[in-house]
Amino acid sequence: MTTRPWVVCYWLFALSSSCGTAAPATTSRGAPEQSLEPAVRRLSVAELEASAQTLLGNATELAAALPPDARQSDYSRNVAQTVDSLLLGQLFDAARSATAALDLSQPRFPSCARFALPDDRACAENTVNALARTAFRRDPSALEVEQLLALFAVGSDGSDFQSGIALVMRALLGSPKFMYATTLGEGGPGPTQLSSQELGSELSLLISGQPPDEELLLAASRGELASAPGRERQALRLLQRPQSRELYRRFVQEWLGLVGLNGLAKSSQVTTGFPALREAMLVETNQFVDDVFGYQAGSIGALLAGGYSIVPDALASFYGVQPSAPGARVALTAVGRVGILQQAGFLATFAHESETAPVLRGKAVLTRLLCLDLPKPTDLGVDIVFPPADAHATTRERFSRHATDAVCRSCHESLDGVGFLFENFDAAGQLRTSESGRPIDTSGSIRLDGQQLQLSDSVELSSALANSEQVRRCAARQVLRFAAGKTDAAVEQAFVDALQGKSLERRGTFLGLFLEFVKSDWFAWRKPQ
């Protein structure tokens, strides 16, 4: 697969006049009325992997070794993550393997380390300092360096300099200071602002999924991150790091529920060779997200109705288009696919093995794009009755009970009204024009921005969603859930309200929303403990 370059400064100027220029230092407005709780968040496996790579200076196999993340509000970046016995044991083993053959000649280590003898305390201190700064995402204290030097002495005793550093590295990889990102502030009885070190750590992890780089650490130590412009300037810089793309791919996959794609199967009656197709579907979504975030700041409109995608060859015939140059945009409006909701990855994820699932597709749109809370049938005392297979009926006909039974209709009118719009895509996401020998009916409806819209298909839906204020507000909530690592309805509402005066470039693009959050006091302040 060819990966497109990660180019972001193209649009940075549209988002901020401060791209690449020094921002004036201003003081914070202070604690907002609604604040997030102070938290201790275990890094997600992806963050642990990225941090370990930075620390070791080369790729690790940490992510493969660790058990998968628990997700909360759909996101793996969340405050519910814990360090359980299995994870700690596997991290212990992985750290031992990863440090067994350290190459101290790498640029990641101070130049003195390559030939240092075990009694070279100056070089040990120099090396330990640099490593701890990366691992802790801040400057270590003198006491912390002393503690690590004591470990260096244990590791190098009767052995060599490298063994001492290897033990320090193991200590850092298993340290709570490495594994947890804190947003505790400086303490005290009232609302608290994050420490300058926490601001740097949070900013970097949230915007790039990586530990802070040298420039950010310096900015943090100079106190520049206490101001909104200071944070924005650093965030805009971090967005240009190519590693950032992984974070936004993951954000979109988790937001839209596409993480399950890799664990999907389809009946051989629907399509053959699905495992290869689902790989291609993941590639398509990732390339498309790279494009929309890289060139259009993560425009919500472009994601939903940009009219194009980046189609891997393995999907070209499935979509009915000619193969294109790697990484090239392909116009897909003519084949009924205008955005991410018509990409096969979304359509196949929200479908059963052998048949479409209007309820799942409708629910995905209503909960993930409009942030609606829907009751479960059992909450209402309703038994789920799966419509029986019927070779002579269309899916719409089989689900007709949803429209005739008053209790079912109370929810399914909206769910199925959206889901039926996608009926021209089968369970694997391939276009179809008929079912059970009858033409497909893709008409449906949605209540959006206070209006009931009658629509003829999902393309019209995507166009409506792309221009919807309700979708933009929901997108802001999703960014906040991802950033906070939890759902906090009061802060979400306050954040959404505060965005209303902002430009469409800011509240209509995901990167604009991330930047607005990072600038805001909700990022920088926490409730009292």
């Binding site: 201790v40 628990a70 994870l87 700690l88 200071k177 009946s267 495992p275 297979a389």
Partner: protein
């Protein structure tokens, strides 16, 4: 480093890894002692079964006949396949609702979360296995406090987990038998290389230094963290204690099972090509768990069995068991409402019987190891009627001797109105000598207390 050649040597040998059993007790925290019970149970196994249950072929016939034509319970009375009948070692328990889930919108597939926690999705308490292992200290003297195993999916998500730590976070599962073997037995294998003991002694010294360092770090973080975050950090402290046991080395005397041959299960994930191997993987996981009990590696285990779609274990059933068997099940249930389709009931019963075959294997292994009488086994699905995704009337299997707290060989019917499953968890904890009369969390505390008459 462990060399593969050591494995044949170590089998059926008394294995010692850096023995430090005596020193260990002093390093472990004090745990609230179990309160008095005459002969409390010692082992716990919780099993999740997929697909709900075909009630028509599950309810025993008069005289506790369980091997009738089509019965899903037949494996428990099949001496040919399992060496003996376990008819006198099981109770079929009818009438439990996963009520805590019904009260907290944690139903359908999500209700697997309720099975051992007695709580909905926002519950903060541990599942009963972790409560016994960690909070009640049943796992403190064994190298591993518990084994959390699965087949097919390692995802720590509501639909895929029955084991939860205090604080409410799902615990990850081991789904690869080789990983299970390494986790449970790897530390006890003896490396015959003469240089190995020197290396091991050094590694122990380094490990102690690391543990001291991490403990101090964690204590410092815990001290400045808000109360709401403490459960999480306590779990980390528990994990460090577990790691400490491994670093310091423990002694077990038992027959270590053979190392599973990974070429026999080249894939292990659901929809990742693992399905053809799920039968073998399930059996290996079961054998390793019971052997870990027999070796004193742990006394607590859970097993999350996989959805059986696409396994082709039963050529007479459709490929997509989930949709075409479980979703198509048509039963009027206990209240007599709804349509009935005998063929659909028989199909689901075949799947249920397959899964009960695996549980019979657990009983067979426990029996052979002499552990059955002291074991509490609970097997449950997240649903009763799977086509309705109903968390009511979930047929439940209890097995083992429960240390005398279960009078087995009978059917218990709690009635059609539905009894909160929390009562089962209360009975389980009492079988281990925990004198508390409630379990779980709910906005409706009335569902949490009470026991079942099991003796």
């Amino acid at each position: 480093m462990i060399r593969r050649s050591s494995l044949s040597i170590s089998r059926r040998a008394a294995l010692t890894a850096l023995g430090a059993g005596a020193a260990l007790a002093a390093l472990l925290p004090e745990v609230r002692p179990l309160r008095a019970a005459s002969s409390p149970a010692k082992y716990f196994i919780g099993v999740y079964m997929p697909h709900g249950m075909a009630r028509e072929f599950w309810v025993p016939r008069p005289g506790f006949q369980i091997a009738y034509e089509g019965s899903s319970l037949a494996p428990f009375d099949d001496a040919v396949s399992f060496g003996r009948s376990f008819r006198d070692q099981i109770v079929t328990l009818e009438g439990l609702d996963l009520t805590a889930g019904l009260r907290a919108s944690t139903v359908g597939h999500d209700a697997s979360r309720v099975i051992l926690t007695g709580s909905g999705k926002d519950g903060q308490n541990a599942s009963i296995d972790q409560f016994l292992a960690v909070e009640q200290g049943l796992g403190k003297d064994t190298p591993l406090s518990s084994l959390v195993l699965g087949v097919g999916s390692a995802e720590p998500a509501l639909q895929w987990c029955i084991s939860y730590a205090k604080g409410g976070t799902a615990l990850p599962k081991l789904i690869n038998p080789l990983a299970t073997f390494n986790h449970a037995f790897g530390q006890f294998l003896v490396d015959p290389d003469p240089a190995a003991s020197a290396r091991a002694a050094r590694e122990q010294r380094l490990g102690k230094s690391l543990l001291d360092y991490w403990r101090a770090d964690l204590a410092e973080l815990s001290a400045r963290s808000p109360k709401a975050e403490r459960d999480k950090l306590d779990q980390h402290a528990t994990a460090l204690r577990e790691l400490e046991k491994r670093v310091l080395g423990q002694t077990v005397t038992c027959a270590v099972p053979s190392r599973p041959d990974p070429t026999q299960f080249p894939a292990v994930g659901s929809y990742q090509g693992g399905e053809p191997y799920f039968d073998l993987i399930s059996e290996l996981q079961i054998d390793l768990m019971v052997q870990a009990f027999a070796c004193g590696v742990t006394r607590i285990g859970t097993l999350f069995l996989a959805d059986l779609s696409r396994t082709h274990f039963d050529p007479d059933l459709p490929e997509d068991v989930h949709t075409d068997v479980a979703h198509r099940y048509a039963s009027p249930g206990r209240n007599g409402k709804g349509s009935s389709d005998a063929a659909s009931q028989a199909r689901l019963a075949r799947q249920n019987r397959y899964v009960y075959g695996k549980i019979a294997r657990i009983l067979q292994r426990l029996s052979a190891s002499g552990l059955l009488e002291e074991t509490v086994l609970v097997a449950m699905s997240d649903m009763g009627d799977p086509s309705k995704h109903s968390s009511r009337q979930v047929p439940t299997l209890l097995a083992g001797g429960w240390g005398g707290a279960l009078r087995a060989g009978r059917h218990i019917d709690l009635g059609a109105e539905g009894t909160p499953s929390n009562r089962l968890l209360v009975s389980v904890q009492q079988a281990f000598g925990v004198e508390s009369d409630s379990y779980g969390q709910s906005a409706d505390p009335s569902i949490l207390s009470g026991t079942l008459a099991l003796t």
